[in-house]
Symmetry: C3
Subunit: 155 residues, 3 copies
Amino acid sequence: MIMKSYRKELWFEVPTRRAFVNITRQVEACLRESGVQEGIVLVNAMHITASVFINDDESGLHQDYDRWLEALAPHEPVAQYLHNRTGEDNADAHMKRQIMGREVVVAITKGKLDFGPWEQIFYGSQPHLAPRAISQSGGQPRVPDIARQAFVEKS
Amino acid sequence: MIMKSYRKELWFEVPTRRAFVNITRQVEACLRESGVQEGIVLVNAMHITASVFINDDESGLHQDYDRWLEALAPHEPVAQYLHNRTGEDNADAHMKRQIMGREVVVAITKGKLDFGPWEQIFYGSQPHLAPRAISQSGGQPRVPDIARQAFVEKS
Amino acid sequence: MIMKSYRKELWFEVPTRRAFVNITRQVEACLRESGVQEGIVLVNAMHITASVFINDDESGLHQDYDRWLEALAPHEPVAQYLHNRTGEDNADAHMKRQIMGREVVVAITKGKLDFGPWEQIFYGSQPHLAPRAISQSGGQPRVPDIARQAFVEKS
């Protein structure tokens, strides 16, 4: 019997303030590398304003999400949030992340993500560093954006 | 030592447009079949507009959820959502699903779901096929509605 | 090879009607007790109005969450919720819990919670017993507030 636990980080840069990035292919590649046949995979964001969620890869839907989240937790006026007194301006992103979720757990069956027909995994990027921090790093910082953990039984 | 990984789908039909179905008994039956004593179970929806969540089995509460979700993400007017330009009319259901959640992970202790006194597992059904698809299939289609995955250590 | 499954409950009293309690240190202590090196930990609330979530430990942000949740699902008027006809007055807390979430699943790597730089685990307490039940017990009742389950492979 071989037991496996496999971990991989995805690092990437998102050019826009907010974006939903389909990472299904990357998670599948990681799954193949892990050799896991039966088990589960945890995919989570490492930033507290970012999300990992499962839904449809349809651009209209993503624009709907964006508009809906903005209505539920508006970015402006920035001063409406106490958190922004810390010098950040992303309090709204902390609210939006609670709705979209930090993580997904997916079953692995016969070496594949055990998905329904339309399920795709997305990384929801939101501003996670203050403008000050970004300019200090001399541009868009590279930060670890996903940790994934496959955990599995194989007989 | 015996390692176990067990998977089962629940298929069912929901007669109404939206419904919260208590599936706790079915998950418990699956758990008994699996023989798992200590571990975790993942219960997830396979439709991207459906939910699996844990809460109270109280009909007033479920009506409250229904009304609250409708206020947060109204079905009408259908044209307010870009996603509905694809010919579907369920964009609101994709929003509601983000609030109710895709999946739950539950601890298994001594062969039982390790629950607090009022915890019950629900499947939240929402429209997941366009009216066109439904009529093509000659009525309410049967679709796989739940995948569950038990994953466990037993010494 | 040693396989491990470890479970521990956290019990605590929250003096205020609502509170976000940082339980990261307690989960880390549990992790050390378990001896788990590689795997996952499930941390979940056992009350259906309580939450476990991961975010920033910043008091302004927590006040923002509190105000935001109250706007999305107001406590008053109590009679707006059918659930409150049961004699409870916490229907709003059942709504808020869906937004904040019941559980988190965290990867364990080299014996540590595999966290990004700001990730902390919080227990979000909300009223979970009717005033009647509280007074019957002669004060604030002690109730089990967290179950955690570590599940792991160690070679």
